[in-house]
C-alpha cells in the first residue's frame, strides 16, 4: 500500500517524533533514526513544562508509544546515519545499527539483568547525578522498552546472559548495516549544553552546590536520582535559598556565544515555581540580563511567579561566586543594573542556565548530508525568512532546536512543517511540476 517513497528522520526527540508521526499518519513510511537507546530526547529529561506546568513525561510518553506502534514508523534506535547518496526523491542511506547486545524482539524489559549486573556507572539520562548498571534502560518509560549493554563499562561477567529468562542477551552481537531508500530527509538533532566549566568564575565543576539547570531538572523529577527531592549534593540538606543565573555562556560579549538560547528565562521561572511548590518557605532568586517573555503566556507566567510564588527577579549578571568551604554555601557577588549597586548574597544552591548549543556531531552529519551549517553549527536555513525549514540541499529539511533556539511548541509546529515539506517534495518529484512553496 505504501508505494510512495519513505522519509528518513534523524533524531528521536519531540521534533523527530512529531515529524515521523505526521508522515506516518498520512501514509508515508517514516524511518526514525535515534543514536541513543531510546527515543524521547531532551523532553524526556524534563520534569514539568512551561508555562502550563504539564508533567513532561506524562504528555510525551503517549506520543512516544503512538509513534513506535504506528505501522508506518520504523524505529532505528541506537543507530546512526553513516552515508547518504542520491538526490531529492531518491536518496540511498546507510544506517549503522550499533550492537546493543540485547535482542529487541526478545527483551521484555523485566530488569532481572539490571538487578544482577555488578557494574555501576553514572547515568547520562540523570546528567550523571544518579547511577545505572552496565546493562540498562535509560529511563523507565524508554521506547523501545528494552535493555542495552554499555560495552565500554561491561566487564563481560556474563551474569546478565545467565539470568535472562527471555534469552535476549547476546554479548556477541555485531554492528548491522541497513540500507534505506528514501525520498526526503528531515534533520532533528536537537541541542546540547554549553560546558559551564568554561565560565570559571561561577565555579561549576569545583563547587558541588553549583548545578546546571538540566541537572537540577533531574533533581526535580520524581523519576530522578533523588525521587524528586531537592537536596544539596554536599550534605543532602534541603536548600533554603536558591539562585538561578541566566545567560551562562550565552549573550556573551567576550567570545562565548553571542546569541540568546530563548528558553532559559521561562524554564528557570518554571523551576523556581516548582521549588516554591516543594518548599514554600524557600527563597528563590533569578539573575537576568533581559527577561525574555516573548512567547504566548510567558509574561503572565513570570507575573504569577512574582506575585503568587514570591520568586525574586534581580536584573544583573553576577560577576563571581565563591564557596564557603566549611558550609558549602555560595556567595554571589553582583551588580544590580537597575540601581547600579554592588551587592552580595549567600545562597545554599546555585543553578546555572548555560547556553544551549548545537550537537557537536552536527558537523559530521552535515558533511554526510552535504548541507550547510551556520557559524555556530546550527543547521542553516536556505532562506531564514521564507524557507526556514529548507536546507541548501533539495529534499533535506530540518526542524526543532538544531535549526536554532526554540521551545517545545515551536519545535512541534516546525516538525509538522518539515513533514509537510517532505510530503511536498515527494509529491513534486513523483509528478514533476508545480512550484515549491518556499524555496525558489
Amino acid at each position: 500500500m505504501l508505494e510512495k517513497p519513505a522519509v528518513l528522520i534523524i533524531g528521536g526527540g519531540i521534533s523527530g517524533i512529531q515529524a515521523s508521526f505526521d508522515l506516518a499518519s498520512r501514509g508515508i513510511k517514516a524511518y526514525l533514526v535515534e543514536k541513543s537507546p531510546s527515543i524521547g530526547g531532551r523532553m524526556a529529561q524534563l520534569d514539568k513544562t512551561f508555562p502550563t506546568m504539564d508533567c513532561s513525561m506524562c504528555i510525551l510518553a503517549p506520543k512516544m508509544i503512538d509513534c513506535s506502534h504506528h505501522p508506518n514508523v520504523e524505529l532505528l534506535t541506537y543507530s546512526e546515519v553513516k552515508e547518504v547518496k542520491g538526490s531529492a526523491g531518491n536518496f540511498t542511506v546507510k544506517v549503522i545499527k550499533k550492537p546493543r547486545y540485547v535482542d529487541l524482539t526478545k527483551c521484555t524489559g523485566c530488569g532481572m539483568c539490571v538487578d544482577n549486573c555488578p557494574v555501576e556507572v553514572p547515568n547520562e539520562f540523570d546528567e550523571g547525578l544518579g547511577m545505572r548498571k552496565a546493562i540498562y534502560m535509560p529511563f523507565p518509560q524508554a521506547v523501545p522498552r528494552a535493555m542495552t549493554v554499555d560495552k565500554e563499562n561491561c566487564i563481560e561477567c556474563g551474569l546478565c546472559e545467565k539470568v535472562c529468562e527471555a534469552e535476549a542477551v547476546d554479548l556477541d552481537q555485531e554492528p548491522e548495516e541497513i540500507k534505506l531508500k528514501v525520498g526526503a530527509i528531515i534533520v532533528a538533532t536537537g541541542f546540547e549544553m554549553f560546558d559551564a566549566r568554561r565560565i570559571s568564575e561561577y565555579g561549576y565543576g569545583r563547587y558541588q552546590n553549583v548545578l546546571t539547570s538540566l541537572e537540577f531538572e533531574r533533581l526535580l523529577s520524581a523519576s530522578g536520582p533523588t525521587g524528586g527531592h531537592i537536596v544539596r549534593l554536599t550534605d543532602g540538606g534541603v536548600p533554603r535559598r536558591i539562585a538561578f543565573i541566566q545567560c551562562v555562556g550565552s549573550r556573551s560579549q567576550r567570545g562565548e556565544l553571542p546569541y540568546c538560547s530563548s528558553v532559559c528565562c521561562t524554564y528557570a521561572t518554571k523551576e523556581a515555581i516548582l521549588i516554591k511548590e516543594h518548599n514554600p518557605e524557600s527563597e528563590v532568586y533569578i539573575f537576568y540580563i533581559d527577561l525574555k517573555v516573548f512567547g504566548k503566556g510567558f509574561q503572565e507566567f513570570v507575573n504569577r511567579a512574582k506575585t503568587e510564588y514570591g520568586v525574586e527577579y534581580i536584573k544583573g549578571h553576577p560577576g563571581k561566586i565563591e564557596e564557603n568551604p566549611k558550609t558549602g554555601d555560595l556567595i554571589i557577588r553582583y551588580e544590580n543594573t537597575i540601581d547600579g549597586k554592588v551587592r552580595e548574597i549567600t545562597v545554599d544552591l546555585v543553578v546555572l542556565c548555560p547556553a544551549l548549543i548545537p550537537r557537536r556531531d552536527n558537523e559530521r552529519l552535515a558533511e554526510t548530508l552535504k548541507v550547510e551549517l551556520d557559524e555556530y553549527a546550527f543547521f542553516k536555513a536556505k532562506d531564514p525568512l521564507f524557507a526556514p525549514i529548507n536546507t541548501n540541499i533539495s529534499g533535506v529539511f530540518m526542524c526543532g532546536y538544531c535549526q536554532g533556539p526554540k521551545d517545545i511548541p515551536e519545535s512541534v509546529a516546525q516538525a509538522s512543517g518539515a513533514a509537510a515539506k517532505a510530503a511536498e517534495e515527494i509529491a513534486l518529484t513523483s509528478s514533476k511540476g508545480g512550484v515549491d512553496s518556499g524555496s525558489k
Binding site: 505526521d22 498520512r26 501514509g27 502550563t52 504539564d54 506524562c58 504528555i59 503517549p62 508509544i65 506502534h69 521484555t108 523485566c110 530488569g111 523507565p140 522498552r145 527471555a166 549573550r251 553571542p258 546569541y259 540568546c260 530563548s262 533581559d290 525574555k292 517573555v293 512567547g295 504566548k296 510567558f298 509574561q299 503572565e300 537597575i338 540601581d339 547600579g340 555556530y376 546550527f378 531564514p384 525568512l385 521564507f386 526556514p388 525549514i389 536554532g404 533556539p405 517545545i408 511548541p409 515551536e410 512541534v412 509546529a413 516546525q414 509538522s416 512543517g417 513533514a419 509537510a420 515539506k421 510530503a423 511536498e424 509529491a427 508545480g434 512550484v435 515549491d436 512553496s437 518556499g438
Partner: protein
C-alpha cells in the same frame, strides 16, 4: 465469541516492574480477581505492555474464550490504545476492554502503605469487573474526507500554507476579506533580520498563488457560515456584499493574522503630529517620506506587558524598533536614534547580533521601569521632550526629540470573535485563537479538522509565521491524504421520548455537536461529538446516555466501590 453469550472476563494484572509490584501484593490481587463474578481467568505480568505481556493477553483471549478483558496497570491515557489493539488482534471488539489504574491512582499514591494499597487495588479491580460485565461492542463510524482545504486569510501565512497544500495535490480555497492578497506584509518595508524587501518577496508569493491551478483565490470575501465536521464542512462565503458561494471543504486553516494596536491617548499619540507608531514609521520609510530628524525616540511596550489588560509581550516590537532604527541611521547617519525599552526581546540565534550591530552604529538604548514609564511633552516650538526616569541615576533625564515612535503590540482583529463563533473554536485570554494544547498541539484546534497559524495564534514574525504555516500544511493534509476517517464511538445518545427540548445540551456542547431537530428534540451529530459527557451530566430529563459510560455501567462501578453488587 459473542459478547451476548455468557460473560467471560480475563484479568491481567501488571507489576510494572517494581512500580506496582513493589507496593501492591499483585499475586494476592490475582487470586482475589479470580473470585469475582464473571471472571474466568486472571494472571499477573511483570510488564503487561511488553511484547510478552501483549501476546499473553492474545493467548488468554483464545485459550479461555474471553469476551471481556481487563488490564489492571497504569493509565489509559498512555496505554489503553495498546491493550485495545491487542484485543482487536485477537478478534474482539476493542470496546470490550476495560482498564483499572492501580499504579498512578494506587501504588504511587500509597507508596508507604502496601497493605492498604493492596486492598485498594482489589477495590479498583472489582469496580472494573463490575463495569466490564456490562460492556458492549461499539462501532466507530467511518466518514469520507473531501480533499479540499479552506484557508481563511491571504497573508504570508495563509498563502504559504495554501501553496504547500496545493503542491501536495489538494484543492485549496483562499478567502481574503481585503480586495487583495498580502496581509500585513503589504504594509511593511524591510524584514528583519535579513533586511529583505517585504514587497519583493511578497509579490513572488502572490504570483505563485494566483498562477497555481489548484488554488482558488476569493478576495473581498468573508466566511459567513460553517456547518458540518472534519472532512465534510459546508462553508458559505460572501463576496462583496451580495454574492454567496457554497464550498465543500475537508479541512480549514485559520490564518487571519493580527491588527496593530492604536495607542490613542498614550504618549501624545493623535495629539501631537510627530508622535507616530512603528507601523506608520515603516510606511514613511517605505514611501521615502521620512524627513531628516535630529533625534528619534522609540518607546517600547506601549500598550503591551501591562499590569492589567494587555499583559502579554508582543514579541516582534523590540526587533522592529532595532530594524527601523538601523534604517533611519542608514538614511540619515547624523540622526540620533534612542530606544527606550523595558526588557529587550532579542531572542534566538540572530536577534542579539542585530542589537549589537545597532549599538555599534550608535543607536542608544535606555532602560525604563514599568512603574515609572516615560512621558512625552510638547514644547511650544513643536519639538518634543521625552522625560525618562533613569533608575541607575535615580533621576529623570530629558531627551529632546523631533519624532517619537511608539512600539505597539499586535492585537486580534475586530472580527476574530465572530469568526471563532462561526467555526466553534476557542479564543485565549487576549482574544487570539486558542490551540488544542499549548505544548504538543500548538497549531491544532480542539475541534478536529481546523488548524491555526501565524499571528492569528499569537504575535510572531515572518519566519515564525512561515514555519507554522508549513506546519498546518501537514496537519490539514493528514485527514485529506488518508481520505477516510474513523471517528469516536463514545458519543452521546438522546432518548427522544425523554427529551423535553429544553436546549440545555445544545448550549453547553463545546463542539457544536447537538442541535434541535424538526421534532424539537435534541439530535447529536455523532461524528462531531467527542464523548465528553457535558450534555449527559446536565440534562434535566436524564434523556442523554453516553455510549461506553452508560448509567448502568457507571452505577455498577460505583456500587462495586462500596462493595455492593448491582441490584
Amino acid at each position: 465469541m459473542e459478547v451476548n453469550d455468557e460473560v467471560r472476563i480475563g484479568v491481567f494484572i501488571c507489576h510494572c516492574g517494581i512500580n506496582i509490584g513493589g507496593v501492591v501484593n499483585v499475586p494476592e490481587v490475582v487470586e482475589y480477581a479470580k473470585t469475582l463474578p464473571g471472571v474466568v481467568y486472571a494472571e499477573d505480568n511483570l510488564y503487561t505492555c511488553s511484547s510478552v505481556g501483549i501476546s499473553k493477553i492474545k493467548e488468554g483471549i483464545v485459550k479461555h474464550n474471553l469476551n471481556r478483558v481487563i488490564v489492571a496497570s497504569c493509565t489509559p491515557r498512555t496505554h489503553e490504545p495498546l491493550f485495545r489493539s491487542a484485543c482487536e488482534e485477537a478478534g474482539l471488539n476493542k470496546y470490550v476492554f476495560e482498564m483499572a489504574n492501580i499504579r498512578d491512582q494506587c501504588s504511587w499514591a500509597h507508596m508507604h502503605e502496601p497493605e492498604k494499597a493492596t486492598e485498594k487495588a482489589k477495590d479498583l479491580v472489582r469496580m472494573a469487573v463490575a463495569k466490564a460485565r456490562l460492556l458492549k461492542p461499539q462501532e466507530e463510524p467511518e466518514i469520507d474526507v473531501t480533499p479540499s482545504a479552506l484557508v481563511i486569510g491571504g497573508g504570508i501565512s495563509g498563502m504559504t500554507a495554501a501553496l504547500c497544500l496545493a503542491n501536495q495535490g489538494f484543492k485549496v480555497y483562499i478567502v481574503e476579506k481585503e480586495p487583495e492578497l498580502g496581509g500585513m506584509l503589504r504594509h511593511l518595508y524591510k524584514l528583519y533580520p535579513t533586511m529583505q524587501d517585504a514587497s519583493e518577496r511578497l509579490n513572488q508569493v502572490v504570483k505563485a498563488v494566483e498562477s497555481n491551478k489548484d488554488i482558488d483565490v476569493l478576495t473581498s470575501t468573508v466566511v459567513k457560515q460553517v456547518k458540518g465536521f472534519i472532512g465534510n464542512f459546508k462553508v458559505t462565503v460572501e463576496k462583496g456584499n451580495s454574492k454567496t458561494l457554497n464550498l465543500d471543504i475537508g479541512t480549514i486553516i485559520v490564518a487571519t493574522g493580527a491588527a496593530n494596536f492604536e495607542p490613542i491617548g498614550m504618549y501624545g499619540y493623535k495629539q501631537y503630529d510627530n508622535v507616530i507608531t512603528q507601523l506608520q514609521l515603516e510606511q514613511l520609510l517605505k514611501a521615502g517620506q521620512l524627513e531628516k530628524p535630529e533625534r528619534v525616540v522609540m518607546i517600547q511596550c506601549v500598550g503591551a506587558r501591562e499590569e492589567k489588560g494587555r499583559t502579554y509581550c508582543s514579541r516582534i516590537c523590540c526587533m522592529t524598533a532595532i530594524k527601523n532604527a538601523m534604517l533611519i541611521k542608514e538614511l540619515y547617519p547624523e540622526a540620533e536614534v534612542c530606544i527606550v525599552f523595558r526588557d529587550l526581546q532579542t531572542y534566538g540565534k540572530e536577534y542579539e547580533r542585530c542589537y549589537l550591530d545597532a549599538r555599534s552604529k550608535f543607536v542608544q538604548f535606555i532602560k525604563y521601569v514599568q512603574e515609572k514609564p516615560p512621558e512625552v511633552i510638547s514644547e511650544p516650538n513643536g519639538k518634543l521632550i521625552v522625560r525618562i526616569y533613569d533608575a541607575l541615576l535615580d533621576s529623570e533625564i530629558e531627551v529632546p526629540s523631533d519624532l517619537v515612535v511608539l512600539s505597539t503590540p499586535l492585537i486580534p482583529h475586530e472580527d476574530t470573535k465572530e469568526l471563532s463563533q462561526i467555526l466553534k473554536v476557542s479564543l485565549g485570554p487576549h482574544g487570539f485563537f486558542f490551540e488544542a494544547h499549548v505544548k504538543l498541539r500548538p497549531i491544532d484546534f480542539a475541534t478536529d479538522g481546523i488548524y491555526v497559524c501565524g499571528t492569528a495564534h499569537s504575535p510572531k514574525d515572518t519566519a515564525e509565521s512561515v514555519s507554522q504555516a508549513f506546519g498546518v500544511a501537514s496537519r490539514a493534509a493528514i485527514p485529506m491524504a488518508v481520505k477516510r476517517l474513523r471517528t469516536e464511538a463514545i458519543t452521546a445518545v438522546v432518548d427522544e421520548n425523554l427529551c423535553s427540548g429544553c436546549g440545555t445540551c445544545v448550549k453547553l456542547c463545546p463542539y457544536g455537536a447537538i442541535e434541535k431537530d424538526e421534532k424539537g428534540v435534541a439530535r447529536v451529530t455523532e461524528v462531531v461529538c467527542k464523548g465528553c459527557g457535558v450534555c449527559a451530566a446536565s440534562c434535566p430529563e436524564r434523556a442523554i446516555e453516553m455510549r461506553h459510560f452508560t448509567k448502568e455501567q457507571v452505577t455498577a462501578q460505583a456500587l462495586a466501590a462500596l462493595g455492593r453488587a448491582i441490584a
